[in-house]
Symmetry: C2
Subunit: 391 residues, 2 copies
Amino acid sequence: MQHTYAERVNHMENSAIRELLKVTEQPHVISFAGGLPAPELFPLSEIRESYTQVLGAGDHSVLQYGTTEGYLPLREVISAQMRAKGIQAEPENIFLTNGSQQGLDLIAKLFINPGDVVLLQSPSYLGAIQTFRSYQANFKSIPTNGAGIDDIALELSIKLNRPKIIYLAPTYQNPTGTTFTIEERKAVLRIASKYGVPVLEDDPYGELRYDGSALPAIRSFSTEDEVIYLGTFSKTLAPGLRLGWIVGGKNLIDKLVVAKKGTDLHTSTLLQRATHYYLTHFNATEHIETIRQAYKVRRDLMLNELKENFFDRAIWTEPNGGMFIWLTLPERYDTLDLLPKALAGNVAYVPGAHFFVNGGGCSSMRLNFSNPTPLQIKQGIKLLANILTID
Amino acid sequence: MQHTYAERVNHMENSAIRELLKVTEQPHVISFAGGLPAPELFPLSEIRESYTQVLGAGDHSVLQYGTTEGYLPLREVISAQMRAKGIQAEPENIFLTNGSQQGLDLIAKLFINPGDVVLLQSPSYLGAIQTFRSYQANFKSIPTNGAGIDDIALELSIKLNRPKIIYLAPTYQNPTGTTFTIEERKAVLRIASKYGVPVLEDDPYGELRYDGSALPAIRSFSTEDEVIYLGTFSKTLAPGLRLGWIVGGKNLIDKLVVAKKGTDLHTSTLLQRATHYYLTHFNATEHIETIRQAYKVRRDLMLNELKENFFDRAIWTEPNGGMFIWLTLPERYDTLDLLPKALAGNVAYVPGAHFFVNGGGCSSMRLNFSNPTPLQIKQGIKLLANILTID
């Protein structure tokens, strides 16, 4: 029997990238392609202790069905963390998800009719593009002026395209690592509010800061439904847990409850209880500081290796945080065409074109520095420079 | 800012039932309303040991991102379990989900265009109705002849309604507890294949058998894409873990990978690894036998109490397995109207009308016997009988 799928299936990602990335998982390949944290930094023993404790307390409810919005004490801890960052959020404004990818999916499910316009940065996060695309969204991209966002272009695009939602990752963005200034953040909120378009602020990397001072979330300038904020434990604790959260107005949270109930009922009770134990019994701040120091070393090393090996043959971003550097070669290079050659030379990256919805990025690539070891960074960038020279 | 949601939000469940069920969670209410397992039977110490072991082995990959289709060794164990039940399934035919509710959602996402017809039993599982409804499906229901399914009515409905998919729970169904015979199962497959309509076979309760011999899944008569099978650990292990699976053809699994990747990337790595440990180090069959024995006592007790307290004032199903009894009062009763009175009298049920897509079930109710204790069953059925007499 041949299945006849729904129309939206035609808008889902083809698996070319997935097939390619499987190659990068082979042990002899130095991969700058993934977006993975360094596994050796996971707080394995603290998480183990957390699970052991909540499963050892004789409380059977840790394995029972739970509420769809999430375990209240955990939402309380997260709302306190949010307030400490200047984001107004009571526990009833916090909604728990299976990683922030599910936050993206639920927001797309609630907002996007086929044909609705999503306005986003160019380049933008691949996972968000794929999710919105599966709901048959149209995309319009906002020109970025090197680092942040051009407010005049944003306003013009809103006027022209009447988007349903604006998707932004203003802090240490994936794939470029670039960041909005405070003025740009305020401008985004002002313009979006003026036209009544909600902003979806995706902030997986905010805690991974290596230079400068903490930047306020766009949501911190808003107490209303103008900004929906996505957070995650994937980059600060561990992605294999699958736990993220949405900050939103109460009306939105009510809708999210209904949407998630039909999607998967609720996020694992045990996961929520163990994470709550971790956050209230261990020093998460100290752990994040450990990650920061390690990633800063890797970022500095990659920037240095790029300088030594590419000097005047490419340009690249110098991110203050996050996991990625965005490298752009002269226009005659096509990073999609070059990838098989790189893989044959045992080094991998993600071609830039994947992050653009309306073309572009063909001579760029995304390089990850959080997962490879310092030695791999040194070797891999040299390999990459040699391959690109041979071409 | 007022949000403008997508059209599908208008098709999502209103929260009347949810508000009602919150009342049933109050400790003084004896609730037959939920569909919860008995928490005191959860294998707490074995699950604890499983998490402690996989987090204690020094393998950091238990907390890293994982593959979307799921952890291969766990898919191998599940495929062996499926084969032991006569279902042809290699590991590549197994796809892991966050409970079988996510299986329902992903299948609906892949198959249902707005307006597509879903054919289902009448009554049918509320969670499936809600999920399909959120994808703007239309419903046609198949008359059930008391217990199973009428093959003539099924064929007629397929001819008339050209459904996109047929959703069935043939074994100890929620809400009625009724079951298809082997002949009915074979007839469903024959008719569905004849018209090229895939069957979605939902089987959360198959292992909870109290009488008679094991019934083969409809999928066991098919090796192709004609039947998509949904399984779950929620009823045999614990629902708070959130782990289920889909059995399907390779083409379907490929589509599921793309759909789930955009939905939440993958199911928790740690959860999968710990469940694999549990299944390979503890005696799951023995544990299920313990649950069976306890639930059989509760079912027998509820049936007995119904006989003593309702004798000729109602009819009810006598399920051979599962978690539910379906009670039908004389037509003049409306179980939706009666519910506030029942709650005031400290006993709760789910009104039958909720399980019907095109009207009906007004004088019926669903009664759960797995979650209440034997004492609560005795007291609660008496309370219910008194309330219905007073009316």
